[in-house]
Amino acid sequence: MSLINQMKMSVLAKSGNEAFVRSAVAAFCVQLNPTLEVINDIKTAVSEAVTNVIVHAYEEPEKNFVYIEAELFEDSLSIIIKDTGCGIKNLEEAMQPMFTSKPEKERSGMGFTFMQTFTDELEVSSETGAGTTVKMRKYIKKAEE
């Protein structure tokens, strides 16, 4: 499947940037004319990945970056959300539905589950002290012309 378009951006890991990032990624794939449901799924999954960076990756998130890359293919969008933060010690545990390292903050522990549910492929890699990379792919159902 041939690559149509590519996008890279980085923003400070501030919670106020979440809406900007999810809207930017959604706007980027509009050229494929996706359904509203697909756009909403992408926004939800991106928001979860960016929230994780803001909440977990850095001691000083507002001074560090979240890196976003997107690649548009004829039938799908691939999204990478990356940080250079602390990494996840136990990835298997972190990806369990309802698991949260911050229950006192009323975290639902559903971030990775939502990324998985709202996209078609999810791959997470993490190295302690080096950072975490989340790769997602969403197949694009086209809206009726």
Binding site: K14, S15, G16, E18, A19, R22, L36, E37, N40, D41, K43, T44, S47, E48, T51, I54, V55, T100, K105, E106, R107, S108, G109, M110, G111, T113, F114, T117, F118
Partner: protein, 101 residues
């Protein structure tokens, strides 16, 4: 995101509008908790103007739902739209929280 509440005859209605995420969750949480402090006998979460929610919002709502349940106060959700309805459904909340029409 804007949030406001109405209290009338023991019925608390929380209106959450716009997009709810990590950047504004504390504001929504605070307003919700002020409403609960008035000791309502019913709580309605009015979301017809809410365009976006993620797991941060779901965590905040589940926590209040549990607290209200332990107080014996029923909580209803009203006005779920495409994105918010799907997030509620996928998180399993739709099977525990009642929908008000």
């Amino acid at each position: 995101m804007t949030v406001h509440r109405e209290f009338w005859g023991g019925r608390l209605v929380i209106y959450i509008c716009g997009e709810l995420d990590e950047s504004n969750i504390d504001i929504a949480r605070e307003e919700f908790d002020k409403g609960i402090a008035d000791n309502p006998n019913t709580v309605v979460l009015e979301m017809s103007e809410l365009k976006f929610i993620d797991s941060t919002g779901i965590g905040m709502i589940i926590s209040r739902y549990k607290r209200l349940k332990s107080m014996g106060v029923p909580m209803y959700v009203k006005g779920l739209k495409a994105q918010t309805e799907k997030v509620f459904r996928m998180s399993g909340l739709l099977s525990i929280i009642k929908i008000a029409h």
